[in-house]
Amino acid sequence: MMQEYAVGITGIGSYLPEKEVTNFDIEKMVDTTDEWIRTRTGISCRRVADERVATSDLSTEAAKRALADAGIEAAELDLIIVATVTPDMAFPSTACIVQSNIKAVKAAAFDIEAACSGFLYAMTVGQQFIKNGFYKNVLIIGAETLSKVVDWEDRNTCVLFGDGAGAVVLQRVEEGYGILSSYLGADGFNGSALAQPGGGSRIPATIESVTNKLHFVKMDGSEVFKFAVRVMGKAAMEALELCGLTLEDIDFMIPHQANIRIIDAAAKRLKLPMEKVYVNLDRYGNMSAASVPVALDEAVRENRIKKGDIVVLVAFGGGLTWGSSVLKWSK
């Protein structure tokens, strides 16, 4: 039988642009109120990248921090995967741009797109290469500059999103620790509930596509809300079952940070007290693929997670997609 290795997170880092846009700032742009945004979403503030800053720039900073935390050099990396829906450009991939920025000379590099579930998809893919012995050092990044693709005249969407990046280094870890299980899924049948339709081969960029705002995020909010509440609970349960654990075993949960009302409803379904659930969306909004790694980084830095803890990561997003992982924290 082929040897399998335990794989875990051995380094983590994140980076957020400095500029804060508060609900009060947004009150000046669209017909909304701080009160509406806070009560319906839990968001008070979000970070927005400068005009000249792209997703690879945020990724590069997060990557450097994760490498330093793991204590390895970029030159030792075998693979870089970036999960994003806001790549710098169609190609080269954002992962290749990061590779050159950090000088990861021997690394392979590619992007994955699974919207807000992207980080969990990327981490699960990266894990396989280490598990089967093919690679030793893999860098996974979730990064977005959603501020570039939201319509700042559409109050239904512009209040929700923010920019940021989080990165982890995956390596072999002690047997019994690290990623215990992962569960990924998709429902392409309902993909139109959340989409950025323009700019690809179906609707290439034209003057009309720009005038018709097809390069912005389009969303059916209540459809996504219902999907999210149901799938968060289901995905967390499935991943637990795959590694033979139950809800009682959860020490900490890092949910995708889309809306506090979704997180509350999912936690209630899982009978998980909110003390065990990390929330930072009040400060950053929904950063899509960056939300989970940024939240995990902050939770680790705030000492909310210690060695041996069972940590559940769970996300959902456009596609529609979802993903979850159970970790036994190994640091």
Binding site: R40, S222, E223, F225, K226, V229, R230, R261
Partner: protein, 76 residues
Amino acid sequence: MVFEKVKKIIGEQLGLDDVSGVTPQTSLMGDLEADSLDAVEIIMAIEDEFGVEIPDDAAEGFKNIGDIVKYVEANQ
């Protein structure tokens, strides 16, 4: 009875201590001060409880709790 179960679900979702004043004429958003996401969550809890699917179009037509009960009874 569908109405009693619906009333219980609404009480749980909105955290109401006393639902004795809730009647079929009570409006979720008008009388009970539910916001649109509370309403979505109540509809979801009712879908799960009765195994029915309540599309958004139907939900948007509900004027009071009696309308929800009628929909559930007709589609159960």
